[in-house]
């Protein structure tokens, strides 16, 4: 059974169609990259998967998370599916974390929710241990300091690590990462990417990795879906997409990536 499947997913703003007839599916452990330029509808698609589209945007078609239909269900029925089945890491951790709460307090929320769902109550001590373990899992050096800090007091990379720790604390089966490294500086990008890759493998999670950067996606995903102007123009295994791209848009995308590599002298 597939963990996530969409069928004919479309997103409209009034009469304008932003995303049209998207379909893909992920089995447990699958790693799918969703590639496309900005404005191609990748992020909206990701939000629609969790039923979190901003007001004014309407999704139609079908999105099933662990067998449960997301589209058209009232929010309070979808809320328990979020986190438990699929958790999300956002593009800009500075905006995604509450500026007025310590990182420790924010990390505690999904940990407590998970424990409650499992029918356990955590003592203060347990909670603290779990918070520290969660931060160590995402390779944060000084967990105590980071727990007490507010988001503006740590680096961008650390903020994104905390956001990843929060997502993992939900113990989801699927991680949706929406351009998780775009807001970070280049050296941190590689670290966070490697961390994400390792954690997804170790936890056996399914991954939906969204990026405009085809080479990055190729490094972390097994399959790629290429989006352009709100439609999926091509889907296939990474190697196949790179060697024999069929859609003109994919060919252009690969050519652009190659040109960039040439210009940087990275091509081997």
């Amino acid at each position: 059974m597939s963990l996530l499947s969409t069928l004919g997913l479309s997103i409209r703003a009034g009469t304008r169609c932003l995303v049209e007839d998207v379909h893909f599916s992920l089995a447990p452990g699958d790693r799918l990259g969703l590639v496309g330029e900005s404005g191609s509808g990748k992020s909206l698609t990701a939000l629609a998967l969790l039923g979190l589209l901003p007001p004014g945007l309407v999704a139609s078609g079908s999105v099933r998370l662990a067998g449960q239909q997301v589209i058209g269900r009232p929010d309070r029925q979808i809320a328990p599916v979020r986190g438990a089945v699929a958790a999300m890491v956002f593009q800009d951790p500075r905006a995604a974390l509450d500026p007025l709460m310590t990182l420790g307090a924010q990390l505690a929320v999904p940990i407590r929710r998970r424990a409650k769902a499992e029918g356990r109550r955590l003592s203060r001590h347990d909670l603290r241990d779990r918070k520290i373990a969660a931060l160590e899992r995402v390779a944060i050096d000084a967990p105590e300091r980071v727990l007490a800090a507010f988001p503006h007091q740590v680096s961008g990379g650390q903020r994104q690590r905390v956001a990843i720790a929060m997502a993992l604390a939900c113990r989801p089966q699927l991680l949706i990462a929406d351009e998780p490294t775009t807001a970070l500086d280049v050296s941190t990008q590689a670290e966070v990417l490697a961390l994400l890759d390792r954690l997804v493998r170790e936890e056996g999670l399914a991954l939906l990795f969204i990026s405009h950067d085809l080479p990055v996606v190729a490094g972390i995903a097994e399959r790629v879906a290429v989006m352009a102007a709100g439609r999926v123009v091509e889907t296939g295994p990474v190697a196949e997409i790179f060697s024999t791209p069929r859609a003109p848009y994919t060919q252009a995308l690969i050519a652009a990536a190659r040109r960039l590599d040439d210009a940087l002298g990275l091509r081997r």
Binding site: L47, L50, L52, P54, P55, G56, D75, R76, A79, P80, R82, G83, A84, A87, M88, F90, D92, A95, A96, L97, D98, P99, L100, M101, V109, P110, R113, F150, H152, Q153, A163, M166, A167, C170, I176
Partner: protein, 320 residues
């Protein structure tokens, strides 16, 4: 934080002294001699000189300034030119009308503006939100005195539920009569204040609703109400609090109109009367007390904002 409080207090005191200086200069720039204003037309030079000596206005300006500041520090605003009664106790008794009026109106305004403002934001794309927005716009557009007069007409004249104007001469020793007298003025001010608060609360809520941290919390499994309460309230409150400070101060100063409409013996009506009668000590006293209150409100708003937002505290640490 202690350091900040100390510095902020110093700023408060300095602002108060600066306000006192401005007032001192302005009162002495006014045309005419206060002594002449005090006496009837046709007083002879000896009488004027005697009054000047009594007022101290025959002394050098620096000495006058020194006395003025020393008196201010003791909250001694002198005696009224008109009644010869000390000004400070009069101000205190007037405050027992103006402060309850302002604070009760503020509490009432917040009590209806907060839930309605949040509702207006949550229902922004539905008719309830549009209706609330339109109503608050109307509340802003309509003058205070008109609302007051309408309330008087409906509640006092037609329904005869509450007194139309006045305040018991014995003040709060008859609390029920005093409260009944204040009911309509409070409602009037609350409606006007609430209309503008509602708009600010609505826009702060809209900001929060579009924020990434709210979506993030929900993406990890928080229900919408849970996320809104945990992250929305404080993030939405921070900008509203600075507005609340300004609103509260302007209501305090704007009470003049409402006090006129309802013939209340408040600070505003005292100021209007004192200006008409050229009663400088009273003018000066009322202005100093309202300045102090406005400064205190600003102080409180700043401190509360700092308590809510760690980024402001960090700035402080970086600066010192």
């Amino acid at each position: 934080m202690t350091r900040y409080l100390m510095r902020r207090t110093l700023v408060l005191v300095l602002s108060l002294i600066a306000a006192g200086l401005v007032l001192f200069v302005l009162l002495r720039l006014l045309p005419g001699d206060p002594a002449a204003a005090l006496l009837s037309v046709g007083a002879d030079d000896a009488q004027i000189a005697a009054v000047r000596a009594e007022l101290g206005s025959d002394q050098p300006i620096a000495v006058q300034l020194g006395h003025f500041l020393a008196d201010l520090a003791r909250f001694d605003f002198g005696r009224s030119f008109v009644s010869n009664a000390p000004v400070a106790p009069e101000i205190l008794s007037r405050l027992t009308v103006t402060l309850p009026l302002t604070l009760a109106a503020f509490a009432l305004a917040l009590a209806f503006a907060a839930p309605l403002g949040i509702l207006a934001a949550l229902r922004a794309d539905r008719w309830t939100g549009a209706a609330l927005s339109a109503l608050s716009q109307l509340g802003l557009a309509v003058p205070v005195f008109w609302i007051g007069l309408m309330l008087v007409w409906i509640v006092a004249v037609r329904a005869r539920l509450l007194p139309a104007s006045g305040f018991p001469t014995e003040g709060w020793s008859d609390p029920i009569a005093a409260a009944r007298a204040l009911a309509l003025p409070v409602l009037t001010v609350a409606l006007v204040m609430g209309a503008s608060l509602l708009r600010y609360i609505r826009s702060a809520t809209l900001d929060v609703l579009g924020a990434d941290y709210l979506r993030h919390a929900r993406a990890l499994g928080a229900s919408f109400p849970e996320a809104l309460i945990r992250h929305g309230l404080r993030n939405g409150a921070a900008p509203v609090i600075s507005i609340i400070g300004i609103e509260l101060a302007s209501t305090l100063l704007g009470a003049v109109v409402v006090e006129r409409v309802f013939a209340l013996p408040g600070l505003g009506s005292m100021l209007v009367l004192a200006i008409a009668q050229r009663d400088y000590p009273s003018v000066q006293g009322v202005l100093m007390v309202t300045t102090l209150l406005v400064l205190l409100i600003g102080f409180a708003a700043d401190v509360v904002q700092r308590l809510i937002d760690p980024r402001l505290r960090a700035e402080e640490r970086g600066a010192s």
